[in-house]
């Protein structure tokens, strides 16, 4: 088990980190993406998809509504999966994710930690969290500056754990 930690300061940097990370992922892989709403999970996938020449960053969008987005690259098929609205094992079963696991597939699963099986089966876990831009404090702590609801250039802490 090895953990690496990165700090990015903009969406551009998060995408760039995704590109680097994509270069290090060889299929088959099951990757869990952990982080609250707006932590930057889809942004990171934009970079990973670019690394695999599977899609350009601007074409990678949130799969919340559609649940599974597929991006085909020359070396691997990427499946960007969002389980935000899936709550029970029965619903998960009906998604048929097992059919997507093949030798050249990479599954990038958001909200996979809701289900114990993914905690067990995952090869890589990427945890993303928002950092307060100036104070470096966790975003869940109350901010002193009431007026700034602006999260434009917020920093992200990204921890990558491999088994």
């Amino acid at each position: 088990m090895a953990t690496q930690e990165f700090i990015t300061h903009s969406a551009e940097e998060t995408i760039a980190l995704g590109r680097t990370l994509g270069g290090m992922l060889a299929p088959p892989k099951l990757v869990l993406l952990r982080g609250d709403l707006g932590a930057g999970k889809t942004t990171l996938v934009k970079g990973i998809a670019e690394a695999f020449q599977a899609a350009s960053a601007e074409d990678v969008t949130s799969p919340t509504f559609t649940l599974v987005h597929e991006y085909r690259g020359p070396q691997a098929n990427l499946y960007h999966i969002d389980l935000y609205r899936i709550d029970t094992p029965r619903q998960l079963e009906t998604l048929g994710l097992d059919d997507l696991i093949t030798n050249n597939s990479i599954l990038l699963i958001e909200w996979g930690e809701k289900f114990a099986r993914f905690e067990r089966e995952r090869d890589v876990e990427i945890a993303l969290e928002r950092l307060d831009d100036r104070l470096g404090q966790r975003s869940s702590e109350p901010a002193s500056n009431q007026g700034s609801e602006d999260s434009a250039e917020n920093a992200r802490r990204i921890r990558i754990t491999t088994t």
Binding site: S10, A11, E12, I15, D36, L37, G38, T42, T43, K46, A57, E58, T61, S62, T64, F65, T66, L67, V68, H69, E70, Y84, R85, I86, D87, Q91, T94, L95, G96, R130, S139, S140, P142, A143, Q146, E149, D150, S151, A152
Partner: protein
């Protein structure tokens, strides 16, 4: 020009729908079996569940569409079905059924892009009102739970072509509505609830910075192609609402609201209002104001840049009251005629599929029996 009764079938996502439309200009019947009730306990659309519901509903829905139109399987001239984009399993139910029916009846089958359908929903209703003089190019904003797309549409004889000039870089507008509603404990689907609650809050109470509605995944300076694009981003505003909730310690009241509302079978507006404090109503109103404002600003900027002569606003979010009102006002001020579908034709329906199929029927663009669902289908 040959008139034709076309039976349209649509199963791309939430709704099982069938409709008979005459020559793309007269809605004869329109049946929509909404699966929202079936999905509600899960807070969203679950694909396999969707497919199963479509399977259950499709035969009675088609029969009712024919009966309402005083038509039979044999009297219609052609069938049309949604090919994509959508959930693969759900699309396949409609496609499989339409293929079997077309084969058995020996009628032509037309495959239609769902997004093209939304654009033709507007045309169908305008023709029905005897408005046949559309000035081109038409700029169409298709805005729903899964889409926020801007298309420039041109027509040459019977052939329509579309150029995508903008789309969301992250979340669709309808998804932002859904996620904000869910994180505020208001349930699913979120758009209609937020729309109903917004007039009860102060839309100027919470300020969302313009930067929260700007996509930041590309440095698009000087690139002429990038410069001509009008992309949207609704992930940032969702995060801002979440941060607002965290900073103002609203979690406990949200949780109690979620619990109270989930116990009710069909909460009425009064029930929502009873469980929403002023702060929540202000947040909801401010969120809607900001999102709607951004949709309008970017769409009108695109219309100016592309010299659009006509504006269409269509898709599920086009049913939003504030969006319609402000689009009408602002587009009129720019001398741009703006058209919306009626509310029943804003959300997913099959009339739009039957209407979009008519030009293809005239051009003889029929689907072969080997075509299949295209989950990520692009509109060109």
């Amino acid at each position: 020009m040959a008139g034709a009764y076309i039976l349209g079938i649509e199963t791309s996502c939430d709704e099982t729908a069938a409709s008979v439309v005459y020559s793309g200009e007269r809605l004869v019947s329109n049946v929509v079996f909404s699966q929202i009730a079936a999905h509600q306990p899960y807070g969203g659309v679950v694909p396999e569940l969707a497919s199963r519901e479509h399977l259950k509903a499709i035969v009675p829905v088609v029969r009712k569409a024919l009966a309402d139109a005083s038509q039979t399987y044999h009297s219609i001239d052609a069938l049309a079905v949604t090919q994509g984009p959508g959930l693969a399993g759900a699309l396949l139910v409609g496609i499989g059924y339409a293929k079997a029916l077309a084969f058995a009846l020996d009628k032509p089958l037309i495959a239609v892009n769902h997004l093209e359908g939304h654009i033709h929903a507007v045309l169908l209703e305008e023709r029905q009102k005897n408005n046949r003089e559309m000035s081109f190019p038409v700029l169409a904003l298709v805005v729903s739970g899964g889409h926020t797309h801007l298309y420039l549409a041109e027509q040459q004889d019977e052939h329509w072509s579309y150029q995508n000039i903008g789309h969301t870089r992250d979340d669709a507008a309808g998804e932002a509505f859904d996620k904000v509603a869910k994180l505020l404990g208001l349930g699913y689907p979120g758009g209609p609830i937020i729309d109903k609650l917004s007039p009860h809050g102060d839309p100027t109470a919470v300020k969302f910075a313009p930067s929260q509605l700007k996509h930041r995944d590309r440095k698009d300076n000087g690139d002429p192609v990038a410069g001509s694009r009008f992309d949207f981003s609704y992930s940032g505003i969702k995060t801002s609402v979440l941060r607002y909730v965290e900073r103002h310690d609203m979690e406990a009241s949200i949780e109690s609201r979620r619990k109270a509302l989930s116990k009710m079978e069909k909460p009425a507006l009064e029930d929502y209002l009873l469980h929403c404090d002023r702060q929540t109503l202000n947040l909801v109103a401010s969120f809607q104001r900001a999102l709607v404002g951004d949709l309008i600003t970017k769409t009108l900027a695109a219309a100016r840049a592309c010299n659009a002569a006509t504006l269409f606003v269509t898709g599920g979010v086009a049913a939003n009251n504030e969006l319609r009102r402000r689009f009408e006002q602002d587009a009129t001020m720019e001398g741009l005629p703006a058209y919306f579908p009626s509310r029943p034709l804003s959300t997913d329906n099959a009339a739009m599929i039957a209407a979009a199929a008519y030009p293809k029927f005239l051009a003889g663009e029929f689907a072969t029996m080997d075509f299949s669902a295209e989950a990520g289908m692009v509109l060109r």
